[in-house]
């Protein structure tokens, strides 16, 4: 009983504290001059423009299609968020280093195809390796992680050693990876076709039921995304590597003078990103149920948009894991909502582009103020 009262006191205390905080802010706002008031309101509106737009869109979508807020729809949004979270967590590291990684989507495609080819059912007629039983899942995870790490190593090496901009390095590697995917799909009995007929064990391992909410199954990859998010949070916030990454992103020269090994840090960030893309590919193969050369196409644009919405600035050295999760979630909410209303897919590309542009403009405006 005492414990219950203690929790009650804590909750009422928290609300009281929140109320006092709002009151103090309101008092402070009243004390401002007319010009300062206008600036405060403008800052509030423009800094949160993206959230306001997404909120308004969700309200309109919900009014027009109330099923958007059903359990099935919310589970769908959470599942899609979970499937896109690892790639965003990987690409965020590259953005923290003032770079980017446009090979991410193709890396997802390659790893998804490798996963699918190694985990096709033995009896499947059009199997890439006919008669070969599916490999153990853990071995396939290891193989694709190595492939992802090699892609990251190549990207990181050229960025760190030759001081090239990550854009041009990853532009070339994405073409190379795409070529490799197309060649890989020609192997054996596949003949460039979509890889399907995946092992039920693999499908169960990734997309099987974790638990049910209101009769709707939540897939297992939601749990994997949570685990990966926790791991990335620890790497970013509790390890020397994470601190070095932010130091290099904020000011490379200062970090080097302070004794940070810039080369190792940059290569490490790209390798970590590569592993994240590989895990995204592993999840995507089972989530979609097949893999093809177009798997992962444009995933990097969604991931970059999510990161920028979530506060990972292109100015470098800024970003939080929590922000990335919110960014991915918001982007999925708006796109699932628009798909719910059967909005033309072609229009979604324009909306996606405008979202990235707006997120960058808001970011630029924030840093312009500080000068």
């Amino acid at each position: 009983m005492d414990k219950k009262n203690g929790i009650k006191d804590k909750i009422s205390g928290a609300f009281h504290g929140m109320g006092n905080n709002i009151k103090a802010r309101a008092d402070k706002f009243r004390g401002l001059s007319r010009d300062e008031k206008r600036r405060t309101v403008t800052d509030l509106l423009l800094n949160n423009a993206m959230f306001i737009i997404i909120f308004l869109s969700v309200v309109v979508i919900t009014i027009l299609q109330p099923r958007f807020l059903s359990v099935a729809s919310i589970v769908n949004i959470i599942s899609l968020t979970a499937s896109r979270l690892p790639i965003a967590l990987g690409i965020a590291g590259a953005i923290v280093l003032t770079g980017t990684d446009i090979s991410a989507g193709r890396a997802v495609g390659l790893t998804a195809c490798i996963t699918a080819s190694l985990l096709q059912s033995a009896g499947y007629a059009n199997a890439m390796f006919p008669g070969v039983s599916p490999l153990p899942i853990i071995l396939v995870v290891l193989i694709v992680c190595i492939v992802g790490a090699v892609i990251g190593l190549v990207n990181g090496f050229f960025v760190a050693k030759f001081k090239l901009h990550p854009f041009i390095v990853t532009l070339s590697t994405q073409l190379i990876i795409y070529g490799i995917v197309l060649l890989y799909l020609q192997i054996g009995g596949n003949g460039g076709q979509t890889l399907s007929g995946l092992s039920p064990k693999y499908l169960e391992f990734v997309a099987g039921k974790l638990f049910t909410v209101g009769g709707i199954a939540v897939p297992k990859y939601v749990l994997y995304a949570i685990i990966l998010t926790v791991i990335m949070w620890i790497i970013w916030n509790k390890t020397a590597f994470g601190k070095n990454m932010f130091a290099v992103g904020a000011n490379e020269e200062a970090a080097a003078v302070s004794g940070v090994n810039v080369f190792k840090t940059v290569v490490g960030v790209f390798i970590l990103a590569g592993i994240m893309y590989a895990l995204t590919g592993f999840i995507e193969g089972a989530r979609i149920g097949s893999s093809a050369s177009y798997t992962g196409l444009n995933y990097e644009s969604d991931a970059i948009a999510s990161c920028v919405i979530g506060g990972v600035s292109f100015v470098g050295g800024t970003g939080k894991i929590g922000g990335i999760v919110v960014g991915v979630l918001l982007l999925q909410i708006i796109f699932v909502g628009l798909n719910f209303l059967s909005v033309d897919q072609n229009l979604l590309y324009i909306i996606k582009g405008l979202i990235i542009l707006l997120a960058c403009a808001i970011d630029m405006r924030k840093y312009l103020k500080r000068r």
């Binding site: 423009l46 306001i52 309109v60 979508i61 027009l64 800024t318 405008l354």
Partner: protein, 43 residues
């Protein structure tokens, strides 16, 4: 994390706060109106 970047991609921008406000507000309005148009076309 605090940002100490003095050589960041925005460091050479010569723009008044007001101009930046107008640019951000314009893009935000274009995006919002585009989403709304897309929604109402689909109905």
């Amino acid at each position: 994390m605090d940002n100490n970047n003095k050589n960041g991609i925005y460091s050479n921008i010569k723009m008044s706060k007001r101009a930046a406000d107008i640019i951000v507000a314009s893009i935000a309005l274009i995006l919002l109106s585009f989403i709304m148009v897309a929604i109402f076309i689909s109905l």
